[in-house]
């Protein structure tokens, strides 16, 4: 009886999910309530988790709770520690959740809510969560080895080295693009700039508090830090109203870019306990809290989506970024659907903390579903804005016109009416001078979040606080990624350089530390600067590059996963990793090819360079601007080269993997599984 009831509940969920998906897919012309998206996503996630993931766990991986995990066998109280599965779920989710699932869907909303929403749900259930789950499983069976180590072991030395180089290059682009998101959010905003600047002395105070005054009291210290950050938001409001202080914190994009570059270098050179670690603790708590608040806010307010299911920009002429739904929607939303970066986390700390093999099911697969749900919430937050407002905020001057009047005329002519007066009122409501051309996704996400939060209580009077709270939340953890990423990039570069000259590999050798830090900061700083001075807004070039790079890393992870399945003789189930891998290869290689060779200057880097070169050759560029245009030409060619390098690196891994697969399938290569030997577990599952 209980079994029949269970079947009925799952059948009802499947029907409900199908009805909601059909509702959001078939609705045209009228605003749709966001609850449709929430319910459709929740039903699909539950079904995917209960049936697809369980099938993979039982049939493909054959998870076995009688087998001791590395956390049990190698327990040392530090890295290797059996941990309660729900605690580990939260830990893993906090580690994988970054700005990607928030910003990507906001940018992809230019196509309308439907393409992005479907990709987030389907991509996560069939691709992203599967990748995270299988890599977590593989690492867990190999004593917590990293993706690079597994690539070297399972595919070969070429695969391992290529994976390391790919990660390093992706880091550079990632840091540049997220720094650009912060710069665009703070440009010309004394309130936001003051609040973010204040987080630095607050973090220093927290670092000293933890080290000298109250050692070990991280939670207590973080509560104090959070209170100070909230005070700094109010302080930012006072600064923005002060005729003496406001100009000091009203900075241009270029000035902010240099400030972030200098900060990145300093933060990577300072002791981690002083700035990085305390802010990391604080940003983790704020991130989890705000995601929870947004979820509750959406359920409470149940806002209607103002953007249509599809916009006219499915034709590839979108102002936020250029390119058609295929392939650009699928690389713009990476985190939230499938993200290669997650494979680094799934083969990092988490596999060393899993107490029982079956815990990998909720931790690996379930955490990704929650991240995907965050992406759905970001999509909702973007789509609750009036379409005219959304495009006015997210469109660069180079596309819609440099003045507010020109921008509203262009956007209104697209069928998304908006006026200068409306935009001014909205800017005043959120305490900003202007909301035009605030590209990057962060300001429009903050606007959407502020509208949802304000509708739970307080209304327009509190809109400005919530807007700057959301900006603070986004900038806080982006800056944490920047300084941690610069540090990690430094270690990776030193590791690579150590093969050429041994002292470079020593992380305590000061010339190596300073040189490698400077090289990493200059690398991402250059791309950041390039984005800031780009008349098309920077995001148009850098976000697709980041998306391609991130998805290519996912392709690397899926190559490793497929190789492992082949070596485990799971040929019948190869489609589980092979289909997402084939999809990613097609999407990323198409996107990469178009970004390099498309004849349309807004899409193709080389076409844009040729267009600018023709402009210079025709003599139509003012003498004072020739230097800037030449730099832009160089940047476009550099982006094309980088994109080509990404494609070549991943093609190398793919070819190397196919060589291994065919060898194993033909029987000319040994199908050796490099798993740690079976040791019976002594931990009782109930004890956790």
């Amino acid at each position: 009886m209980k079994k029949i009831l269970g079947h009925l509940v799952w059948a009802a969920l499947a029907i409900l999910g199908a009805v909601c998906l059909a509702g959001i897919a078939l609705n045209r012309g009228e605003p749709i309530n966001s609850i449709w998206l929430v319910v459709a996503a929740a039903c699909m996630y539950l079904l995917g988790f209960r049936f697809y993931a369980k099938f993979i766990a039982a049939r493909v991986m054959a998870l076995n709770n009688d087998r001791a995990t590395p956390a049990e066998r190698l327990r040392n109280g530090h890295d290797f520690e059996p941990t309660n599965k729900w605690i580990l779920f939260g830990h893993h989710f906090a580690a994988i959740a970054g700005p990607g699932p928030l910003v990507g869907p906001v940018l992809a909303a230019q196509f309308g809510y439907l393409p992005g929403t479907l990709w987030i749900i389907i991509g996560a259930v069939l691709g992203g969560a599967v990748q995270d789950f299988i890599i977590l499983f593989a690492s867990m069976r190999r004593n917590g080895k990293s993706l690079g180590e597994m690539a070297r072991e399972e595919i070969g030395r070429v695969g391992g080295f290529t994976a390391l180089l790919t990660v390093l290059l992706i880091m550079v682009i990632l840091l540049a693009v997220i720094a650009l998101v912060v710069v665009n959010a703070l440009k010309g905003s004394p309130w936001g700039t003051f609040t973010i600047a204040a987080t630095m002395p607050i973090a220093l105070f927290m670092g000293l508090y933890l080290r000298y005054w109250r050692p070990g009291k991280v939670l207590e210290c973080s509560i104090i830090g959070f209170a100070l950050v909230v005070v700094s938001i109010f302080g930012g409001q006072a600064v923005s109203h002060s005729p003496a202080l406001a100009p000091l914190f009203t900075l241009s994009g270029v000035t902010l870019a240099f400030a972030v570059i200098v900060y990145g270098f300093a933060a990577s050179a300072l002791p981690v306990w002083l700035l990085l670690a305390p802010r990391d603790y604080l940003s983790t708590f704020v991130k989890l809290g705000v995601v929870l608040m947004l979820g509750v806010g959406i359920l409470f307010v149940r806002p209607e989506l103002q953007l249509p299911a599809f916009t006219r920009f499915v034709d590839g002429n979108g102002p936020v970024f250029a390119g058609k739904i295929f392939p650009f929607c699928f690389i713009t939303i990476a985190c939230g659907a499938i993200s290669g970066f997650h494979s680094l986390i799934s083969s990092g700390t988490t596999p060393k903390m899993i107490a029982k093999e079956w815990h990998a099911w909720p931790v690996g697969y379930g955490s990704m579903l929650l991240e995907s749900f965050v992406a759905i919430m970001a999509m909702i937050a973007a789509c609750v804005l009036q379409p005219g407002v959304y495009f006015a905020v997210n469109s660069p001057g180079g596309v819609v016109g440099a003045t507010p009047q020109a921008a509203v005329e262009t956007i209104t002519s697209w069928g998304f009416p908006v006026t200068v007066a409306e935009m001014q009122t909205l800017a005043q409501d959120v305490g900003e001078a202007s909301l035009f051309q605030r590209t990057g996704g962060a300001p429009s996400l903050a606007l959407g979040m502020a509208q949802i939060f304000a509708r739970t209580g307080g209304g327009r009077a509190i809109l400005a606080f919530w807007y700057h709270f959301a900006i603070m939340f986004e900038a806080l953890f982006i800056l944490t990624i920047i300084d941690a990423g610069t540090r990690v990039g430094r270690f990776m570069l030193q590791d690579l350089a150590g093969h050429i000259y041994k002292p470079w590999g020593r992380t305590s050798w000061m010339p190596g530390v300073v040189g490698a830090s400077a090289a990493i900061v200059l690398a991402w700083g250059y791309f950041l600067y390039q984005g800031v001075i780009d008349p098309l807004g920077g995001i148009n070039s850098l976000w697709p590059l980041f998306g391609i790079a991130n998805q290519l890393l996912a392709a690397v992870a899926l190559c490793v996963a497929t190789t492992i399945l082949i070596k485990m003789h799971r040929w019948r189930y190869l489609w589980i990793t092979a289909i997402p891998l084939a999809w990613l290869v097609v999407v990323t290689f198409t996107a990469g090819w178009q970004k390099i060779f498309s004849p349309y200057p807004r899409i193709g880097f080389l076409a844009r360079a040729a267009q600018l070169q023709a402009l210079v050759d025709s003599g139509n560029v003012a003498a004072s601007k020739i230097g800037v245009v030449r730099t832009q030409i160089f940047n476009e060619r550099l982006d094309a080269l980088l994109c080509a390098v990404f494609l070549i690196l991943v093609a190398t891994i793919l070819i190397d993997s196919i060589r291994v697969w065919t060898g194993v399938l033909r029987g000319t290569r040994e199908a050796r599984v490099n798993e740690a030997p079976f040791v019976p577990s002594r931990i009782e599952a109930e004890a956790l």
Binding site: E81, A97, S339
Partner: protein
């Protein structure tokens, strides 16, 4: 009420895990040492050195 209490305990445990407070207690227990400023500094340096050699997710 029991469920609310259990959920509250879970949230607190999660926050302690995320803040490394649990890891510190495990460190003290594993090495048989008492809490002190020096011990915390030693633990944190080891912990952070291991943490910040891995990229943070995007």
């Amino acid at each position: 009420m029991k469920r609310v209490k259990r959920f509250g305990r879970f949230v607190l445990e999660l926050l302690r895990e995320l803040s490394d407070e649990n890891a510190y207690h495990r460190h003290l227990a594993a090495h048989g040492r008492a809490h002190s400023r020096q011990e915390w500094q030693r633990f944190l340096e080891e912990r952070l050195r291991a943490r910040y050699i891995r990229p943070k997710c995007c």
